[in-house]
Subunit: 408 residues, 2 copies
Amino acid sequence: MSLPGPVDPPARLLMGPGPITAYPRVLQAMSAQLVGQYDPAMTGWMNEVMDLYRGVFETSNRQTLLVDSTARGAIEAALVSLLEPGDRVLVPVMGRFGHLLVEIARRCVAEVHTVDAEWGTVVEVDRIAEAMERVRPKVLATVHGDTSTTMLQPYEGLAELCARYDCLLYADVTASIGGNPFPTDVWGVDAATAGLQKCLGGPSGSAPATFSDRAVAVIESRHSIEAGIRVDGDPVAAHPIRSNYFDLAMIFDYWSPRRLNHHTEATTMLYAARECARLVLEEGLPAYQARHALHGRAMAAGVAGLGLDVYGDPAHKMANIVGVVIPDGIDGEAVRGILLADFGIEIGTSFGPLAGRVWRIGTMGYNARTDAVLATLAALETVLRRLGHPVPAGGGVDAAYDIYGEAA
Amino acid sequence: MSLPGPVDPPARLLMGPGPITAYPRVLQAMSAQLVGQYDPAMTGWMNEVMDLYRGVFETSNRQTLLVDSTARGAIEAALVSLLEPGDRVLVPVMGRFGHLLVEIARRCVAEVHTVDAEWGTVVEVDRIAEAMERVRPKVLATVHGDTSTTMLQPYEGLAELCARYDCLLYADVTASIGGNPFPTDVWGVDAATAGLQKCLGGPSGSAPATFSDRAVAVIESRHSIEAGIRVDGDPVAAHPIRSNYFDLAMIFDYWSPRRLNHHTEATTMLYAARECARLVLEEGLPAYQARHALHGRAMAAGVAGLGLDVYGDPAHKMANIVGVVIPDGIDGEAVRGILLADFGIEIGTSFGPLAGRVWRIGTMGYNARTDAVLATLAALETVLRRLGHPVPAGGGVDAAYDIYGEAA
């Protein structure tokens, strides 16, 4: 075979649902040389990463660390480590990622119950309360921000419900963390898992996660140290966690002072995760979230200013992504294709019932910026006009400028 | 909290069992900017990666791709996708990583049988044949190179045995691929999984893997497309693979022209994996393996030249790692500590019965180099002498030079 050349990415402005354009500082961090997995430098960085992500998750949880997989793997790590076969789990489903929790919980052979909401709305707490009373789940498994619909699930009252029914509260915050408030401890969340490729502005492939002492107690009750490294007195569970790679009890050991070998930590991805958290905390979490709120508002206003409808319940929209109803007579994929080929701008499509009906435009991390918002709105206007769809000249950009003017 | 500074790794020469110092070109590739997961550039690179790793694995297997986890995760992906609860699996165990296959297969609720060899030896094919006749396993799960003992399992006769008993042959080649011959198709291996952080000279966090048509047929028979993206006519299995993240049938879909969304591909790790394979194939696989053989021989000769014993059966030693019996009266951890602190050189310890008894010195990937070998031998000599252990002056370096002289 003739070998392909070195990787040489085309210029892209990634304004979809993620991955988005990474912060240049994160890319630089990933070109740093490796050290050994038990090097004092490495274990020092692991401890720093734990502390940095306590800041990002607003938690004092000791067990705050990275799972070496994409965000989806960390969801599985949380659910497979918390749920034993036959355990009941309740999943509020308002989009594709609620379905994903159902799928993953079923593979844990849990007894899965759902409370379903129409796509574009959120699941009302009253309906969750009614289902909790009926199901008595061990885990309430929620999606904080479901990018498939751009909806943000409210958490008011969920911790109280979980306390009443002695239930653990899990949250998938992959798409929301950093761009929307998620105070883990204040909201009484027992387990939360994330990814780098949305508001944190890094690549997919490392998944920050945090676990409360209550969650850790459940996980540790299933602790089983594997043969080959086990010594006398180490635990061997009769019914160990059904995954070795996602066995959080062993991952906790690896991140503990004992540093018991499990996987080999993905050093470069740890460098990325560390730099993402440094960027968030350097700006300050409230300012970081406020920046996402501002540029998300500007993008939504710009979309409306082009005469397009913003998808979903505006009272519960994620700050970092806008769903755009594709106008009648417009081929959504053709628009995306021209934006990418001629303007280097990527926006997203959606899944399932929304495929071909809704575009998704993200303003996340590095791309939660005025120039990224204005360039995207100007390009979208141009492409729609060339395809024959009537749009007010400058309507998108003007509406976004108005938002920035108010904020200035 | 006060924020830690940017990542700034200390100078290290990583001569342990891995991770080892990454190729500078791999580090550079990882600082390339991201593109979207369905960008034509990205899907083009995915296809190139499949083709590049067909070269590395010496296979024509269509399903040759990356699992987005460390090497351990890809072992789990292979076993959990091939093994259903109650299936029989036979594992030859000659070290810690054989035990790991047992552990992972048990979590798949497989019926696990082993053929055990003393650490420092390999499992004779006759003993595997006897166990195959008795157990009739669905999968024969092997470790090619077990770094815990530095032993390389022979494969002669295994494909014939597997054909006779209609069994699938799995191989964990994490520690061996690139540094030792592993012709997947010639040896009749049905599934093999690897990692980047050994002879391929990259970071941990991406796992190249390959699957024969026979293995794919078993995996596809359990194919189940998840809710949220499933359309009419898509398969829904009664007993799906027990992991969502490691469901290879869904991962195959993601890497197929249909590009059905599963995880979000870890773009930066794909850049790394792609550059690792380019480096191997640019040098040429035979030359790449020969380089590992040369520097491994030089390191082993140097160790002997220092009056130290090389651990394990020399007839079955991996090319890329040398086990060194720690001399009586020497504190192995003290030696490693001084090498790291004063010389910036990392060598490894070992696990279980070999902890504190054996050092492991790797010559892999970027560090399969004359200067890395000579610097390590000179430093080891110096440290041993300062700790009061008698060593012939220049004995290690001279013996290594002799090997290089023969080869020149």
